[in-house]
Amino acid sequence: MTPRERIKAVLHHRKPDVLPWLESFYEETVLNWFKQGLPPEKIIVIEWEMGRGGTNLYNWPAVKGFDAYSYFGCHGFYGCVVPVDIGPLPRFKQMVLEEDERYLTVRTETGAIAKRIKGEERTWYSMPMFTEFPVKDRKTWEEYKKRLNPEDPRRYPKDWNRDDYIDAFENYQRGPTMLRFNGFYGFGAELMGIAPFNIALYKDPELIHDMASHWEYYIKETIRDAVETLKERIDMIFWWEDMAEKHGPLMSPRLYREYCLPHYKNLTGFLRRNNIDRIMVDSDGNIKPILDLFLEAGITGLWPLEVNCGMDAIEIRKKYGDKFFLIGNLDKRELAKGGEAMRREVDSKVPVLKDEGGYVPGADHLIPLEFTLERFIEYSTYMKKLLPY
């Protein structure tokens, strides 16, 4: 089987010949590893760039020219991705507003003002502190909405040629093909800030309903051409939400039902009508209280299942059977310790979930900075032994 066939099999709860393994890396971690012994000739350019496909509010550093995934032999979420730009168009002009010895305050391309610690190593990893968000009320939302126009021709690449892309998505075999976009909670919280957005759920329901309705329309119409062209050649939807903390969802299930569920259903319905039914939500934190609603919404996959927040893939498998495919859930803190702690963590989950199917092993979030190269090599060597059926 090819790597793509393997991962597709698992997402559909079928057994592959070898279990695929999936990780995501902080760029800073990879840069650290160069200092710790990764071949220096692999080092390449580091650029600040808009999140892939314009899906993030931040400008992340991107390590160009080194593919950690093929180097370590794992899958990632960045293989063959539908090149649709869902960011605001036109972008805001990115500029440095203030700078001192330790901090840099910038206006991002999505109109937020972010203060971050200077220096290449921790700026992405520690996340910036946002001091201002582009949407504050109805007036600023109406302004922002103009930048979320699905008809803007810049949303698709200049070389968007349906036949070529069908070929590319048909023939790609190194991993899953994907389409990525932001969810109804995630986009609102990014545009308004988590606290103002959560308060607006109570204080200004009409605004939130309008934002969610427009987001549904905007995403559906923006991706329509790609979805109707590529259909089942898109193996998986990567739906970013980040809507939970350790205690539970950031938005209560009641509010989720009111503000998000109908739009989720409409969007997953549209995807299903185009034969795309592997629909994964990316949310950190404890999402257990909202899993029933995810099912109702048409979600079929979950990542990263953070152990520190009480997520347990075995428990979810017991409760929900094969209704969700699961990715991650190996406690990154234990993995990073190496040795017995790492083996204990891997052994406690991988063999049993491998047997049951529908599970792709991996750390329960991006590989953190404190994960040394030596320990990652130890972990990857151990993991690879467990993968063949």
């Binding site: 971050r116 921790r122 996340m127």
Partner: protein, 219 residues
């Protein structure tokens, strides 16, 4: 006005907050209480604080989530605006002083801010040092403010070691014995708290606040 009537209005205020009945409704009830000449202290203690305590309790039980905590905070803020002109002096029963900050290298502030807001409304004086706070600043401010409690937040696993750095600095400065240290944030676990030697590790803002209240009651 009878004691029963007073108690009834205060209960209504408390319930309107815990049920998140909306800012206009809660304000209306507080106005009614003020017109009935109920002392501001009583409105705060038996109306507002009880309501907020109930919100915290529902959060702990998994009935409420962050959205509800934040909205309750918004209600409380708007009520304090209403009550301020009626306060002859600081009516909040100061429970103690909490020094608060996110450790060096970490710019996250939401959890810290929620904890700070709830602590403030529960009667603590809160000195918030912000994010990316170095150990030197924590120690200097602990000395300057004479804080009873130091609350440190860290969301990142990579910044967890900063907690130990601050604890060591507090010891070096000879103030560790006079200040309780509590930590919180996504990266924090009870086990880590024990290993590093803080007085408590809270898994969320509500739990953290309960621990702080207990400490001050025991003092």
């Amino acid at each position: 006005m009878s004691d029963a009537a007073i108690s009834g209005i205060l209960q209504e205020i408390s319930r309107s907050i815990s049920d998140l009945q909306g800012i206009p409704q809660v304000k209306k009830l507080v106005d009614k209480a003020l017109k009935q000449k109920i002392a501001v202290e009583e409105i705060v203690e038996k109306g507002l604080k009880r309501g907020l305590d109930e919100v915290g309790s529902r959060y702990e039980k998994g009935e409420y989530f962050l959205s509800e905590l934040l909205y309750a905070g918004e209600i409380m803020t708007s009520l304090f605006d209403v009550l301020k002109p009626h306060m002859k002096q600081d009516v909040i029963d100061r429970k103690g002083t909490i020094l608060l900050g996110t450790v060096k290298g970490d710019m996250h502030n939401i959890g810290k801010n929620i904890f700070g807001m709830m602590a403030q409304f529960s009667g603590f004086r809160v000195c918030d040092l912000g994010v990316d706070v170095d150990s030197k600043t924590f120690v200097e401010e602990a000395k300057r403010t004479g804080a009873d409690i130091l609350g440190m937040s860290t969301l990142l696993t990579s910044t967890l070691p900063e907690v130990k750095v601050v604890l060591d600095r507090l010891k070096e400065a000879g103030v560790r014995g006079s200040i309780k240290v509590i930590i919180g944030g996504n990266a924090v676990t009870k086990q880590f708290g024990e290993e590093v030697g803080v007085d408590a590790a809270a898994l969320d803002a509500v739990e953290g606040l309960e621990i702080c209240k207990r400490w001050m009651a025991e003092k």
